[in-house]
């Protein structure tokens, strides 16, 4: 099987590739957003702990 034929997707390339591309972007986005959400919660909590120590 040649690469050009594979990429052409039997003439449906403009529908097939955006579908897969969009889904993969969303999969990656969800992972990154979840990690950011956890990391930012951690940072905020650490800052809070830090500032409460200074007040003591």
């Amino acid at each position: 099987m040649n690469l050009a034929g594979f990429l052409a997707m039997g003439g449906y390339a403009v529908y097939v590739w955006p579908s897969f591309g969009l889904t993969l972007i969303l999969l990656i986005h969800n992972v990154r957003a979840a990690r950011r959400y956890h990391a930012s919660a951690r940072e905020q909590a650490l800052r809070r702990i830090d500032s409460s120590r200074k007040q003591v």
Partner: protein, 245 residues
């Protein structure tokens, strides 16, 4: 029955650590299954005799649609548990699941549209299946907006739980819409009684994607939940010890 395991699971410090250890056990199998499923769906599976290569969109469309419903069910069950037994962690599950589910509902609609244009000749019709899936997306967005609009977390939890539970009625409507109404959307291929109407070399990559997406959701949910638990427990003493490590 002994419920200590359940209470232990619902205790935030225990859950926080457990979730961190569990995440890779969901994430890596999910990654491998999705890679294998993509290769199987895009390269190994033969083109459909009617739809040609356009049928391959099903490998991202159907698992996304499945996830949009599975995540909603998870969210509603968690919300009900939170509401009935007042378990904060259950509300956290519902809150963490919503954005992920919303993206999958969007993906199901968008990839369905990209398949509909060449196959049906239209991007969109107000067919029962499509409309009820669009309502599912709006339910997710409503849930997220409602949560964002209430400052008091406990009130937000309760209000969102009611919304999530009422919205469950939409799930059977989505599933059975293709039987109840004369929809343009086709009927079930896999989630029906009896033999799936798809040959094995087309079917296995789809099953790999279904399982991969489900495990993927597990990993993403656990990570979001850890963030959610920290935000809810920000003044707890265990958190100081945990974060100091």
């Amino acid at each position: 029955m002994n419920w200590t395991w359940f209470h232990k699971l619902a205790s935030p410090p225990h859950f926080y650590r457990l979730a961190g250890r569990m995440t890779p056990w969901f994430g890596w199998p999910a990654f491998l299954l999705i890679v294998v499923g993509l290769y199987g769906g895009l390269v190994l599976a033969p083109p459909d005799y009617q739809q040609g290569d356009a049928f391959r969109i099903v490998y991202v469309h159907a698992p996304s649609a499945w996830m949009s419903m599975f995540i909603y069910a998870t969210m509603a069950v968690a919300a009900a548990i939170g509401l009935i037994w007042r378990i904060k962690l259950a509300h956290a599950v519902a809150a963490a699941a919503a954005p992920v589910g919303a993206w999958f509902a969007f993906a199901a609609l968008a990839t369905g549209s990209l398949w509909g244009k060449p196959m049906w000749g239209t991007w969109w019709v107000w067919d029962a299946r499509l409309t009820s899936e669009l309502i599912l997306l709006f339910l997710y967005l409503g849930f997220i907006a409602l949560r964002a609009s209430i400052d008091d977390r406990e009130r937000a939890d309760r209000a969102c739980a009611v919304l999530a539970i009422v919205g469950v009625i939409n799930l059977p409507i989505i599933h059975y819409s293709v039987y109840w109404w004369n929809t343009l959307h086709q009927g079930s291929t896999i989630t029906k009684f009896g033999k799936p109407s798809m040959p094995f070399d087309m079917l296995w990559p789809l099953l790999a994607m279904f399982l991969g997406f489900t495990l993927y959701f597990g990993a993403v949910l656990l990570t979001r939940l850890r963030g959610e638990v920290i935000r809810r427990e920000r003044d707890a003493s265990w958190l100081r010890e945990e974060l100091a490590r």
